[in-house]
């Protein structure tokens, strides 16, 4: 975390500069947002899984989305990428409205996601997995498919690009193996490499470290940082706080479907709202002097409000 400060890459500096001086408030506006989300709501029966008022993702940064289990992170991801329909709300990607756009069109616009449970296409080879990611393939049209000369050239270009990516992800030795024969970590790498074949602007990674052994974690981290180097924006969901601190430029915290806090990674975990969300608002930790004082002020304010004739209960509801 601190070891590489001397050699901080320029993209990281740029990203950090963009976040400098931003207040740690949920929904804080960013200087150059690639993704702007407004009032997205998703209910499952009586349960409100997602209720995000406003959130912006800074272009060219690595933004982490964290939160306790059941906070609605993955559901929120599904809304944004068209895999689930939001009940209300809208969001724009590069200024283009994306609500109601089907998943495959979201991907074509440059917003590509991976999945929490890796979706390697087991009975296709690693190379075929990669080729599938390329966009605008002439051979994917039924009639063109019958005339190989129409798509051979393009296929060779795609293969070349895929080989380069596989070499970067150290999967080149496996390129003719079935994807189903890869280990869990290799599948994560393959899924990320495949997503890059689409040529995305915004890469959305759903728990990229889940089930990856520690030896591979470092290389995965390097690859995620690399995405920012190449000018892509990364939004990822993660539980591993070490990873979040290590690579993210900005952290958004969700709890019970809502964004409760935002901020730089080194201070976000000391935010009382975040501690409350993870440990519960009334966890029985001994009170610090400031907290005691704060509670005192609250009580005083309540008393005063009551004296002025405003019932305390409505104030509580407003909170």
């Amino acid at each position: 975390m601190h070891a590489d400060e001397g050699t901080t890459p320029s993209s990281r500096k740029a990203a950090l500069a963009a976040f400098a001086g931003l207040p740690s408030e949920p929904g804080v506006p960013k200087p150059d947002p690639i993704l702007v989300v407004d009032k997205v709501v998703r209910r499952f029966g009586g349960l409100t899984a997602v209720n995000v008022d406003h959130v912006e993702i800074q272009r060219g940064s690595i933004t982490a989305l964290i939160g306790p289990n059941g906070a609605g992170k993955t559901t929120f991801f599904n809304q944004l990428t068209g895999f689930d329909t939001a009940d209300a709300g809208e969001w724009t990607f590069n200024g283009r409205k994306m609500n109601g756009v089907p998943a495959h069109k979201v991907a074509r616009h440059g917003m590509v996601r991976t999945f929490q449970l890796t979706k390697a296409l087991s009975k296709l080879t690693v190379m075929e997995n990669m080729r599938l990611g390329a966009q605008g393939q002439r051979g994917e049209n039924f009639f063109n498919a019958l005339i190989p000369s129409l798509w051979r050239g393009q296929e060779d270009e795609i293969t070349e690009r895929a080989e380069k990516l596989l070499a970067r992800f150290k999967l080149d030795a496996k390129s003719e193996d079935f994807a189903g024969s890869l280990s869990g970590g290799q599948r994560k790498l393959l899924e990320m490499a495949r997503a890059l074949m689409v040529g995305p602007e915004l890469v959305m990674l759903d728990e990229p470290m889940a089930g990856v052994n520690p030896a591979l974690t470092q290389s995965l981290l390097g690859h995620v940082k690399d995405l920012r180097e190449q000018g892509m924006t990364v939004l990822f969901v993660e539980h591993d706080m070490d990873m979040v601190r290590d690579i993210s430029d900005w952290v958004i915290v969700m709890a019970q479907g809502a964004v409760i806090s935002e901020g730089p990674p080194d201070t976000i975990m000391s935010d009382p709202r975040v501690i409350d969300a993870y440990l519960g608002a009334h966890h029985d930790a001994p009170l610090s002097a400031e907290e005691l004082e704060e509670q005192l002020h609250e009580a005083e304010a309540e008393l005063q409000a009551e004296a002025e004739g405003t019932p305390a209960s409505t104030k509580e509801a407003a909170e």
Binding site: H104, L121, L124, N141, L146
Partner: protein, 328 residues
Amino acid sequence: MDWTTIFVTTVEAAIGLETVVYALAAIGINIQFGYTGLLNFGQAAFLGVAAYGLAVTVATFGLPFWLGIVIGLIATVILAFLLGIPTLQLRADYLAIVTIAAAEIVRLVFRSVAFKDVFGGSDGRQGFSDGFYALNPFPRGEYGIGPIGFNERVLWILVVGWILIVLACLLVYLLMKSPWGRVLKAIREDEDAVRSLGKSVFSYKMQSLVLGGVIGCLGGFVYALGNASVQPDVFGTELTFYAYTIVILGGAARVLGPVLGAAIFWVLLVFIGNTLSELVAAGYITFMTTTQVGPVRFMLVGLGLVLLLIFRPQGIFGDKREIAIDAR
């Protein structure tokens, strides 16, 4: 024991009309199920709609043969869209439920009294194949090698049928080597992953359903023309399930799997049936009668399939490595 008859009927079964019809039906299912993972349990309806499209156009309305073929093809495509549009956006099981029900609806409409004037009720339609046999280039006579032979009508339909099989296999071969086929196989593995890579899964599933239906419907034409008649009950659910059996027997997602599967399926049925009949007639088997041979041969073929699935689950042409992946 008349081994010559057993031998002749077995060889004739290997290349005969049933094999051709079921091979075409199975090639269609192989595209849908083997490559795309779509559970179309209504393949019988696709064959039926094509066969009746031809028969009704020619026999009921007195229109030309080629128009009948065109109408049969159009009817098949319409059926594919009718089944696909409401179900292909849903989970895989919905297509299975809807297709199996639709196939029965189609069959019951064909045999209904209300439409007897059009479809001919349970007797079906006859007298529509003259246009086809008028094109027959083979002069009257018997053709064959030694005791194995067909008359000029059977030879003509078999030649046309096998040409259709070769063309269908060539089409499948070309498509499945192409990026188009790659998308289908990827959909079979995980459609959400394919969506996340910017492909319209619905559109590809629909193309697969239509293509599989159209290839299957060629089997419907061959059946109708080969028998010079159509009856509704031919297009029952067992036709679909035999076709599935054939696909699994030959090896799913293999170009030649369905063809070899169809030949083996019918050879086994005919060989076991005739051998048992001969054994019963000759008095070697005393615990059953010749009429019981029919059901027993299906039991034995079923037993054979169970053994196949235990010892060679990938089918005859399948790739063992693929099965190993599933077991992980």
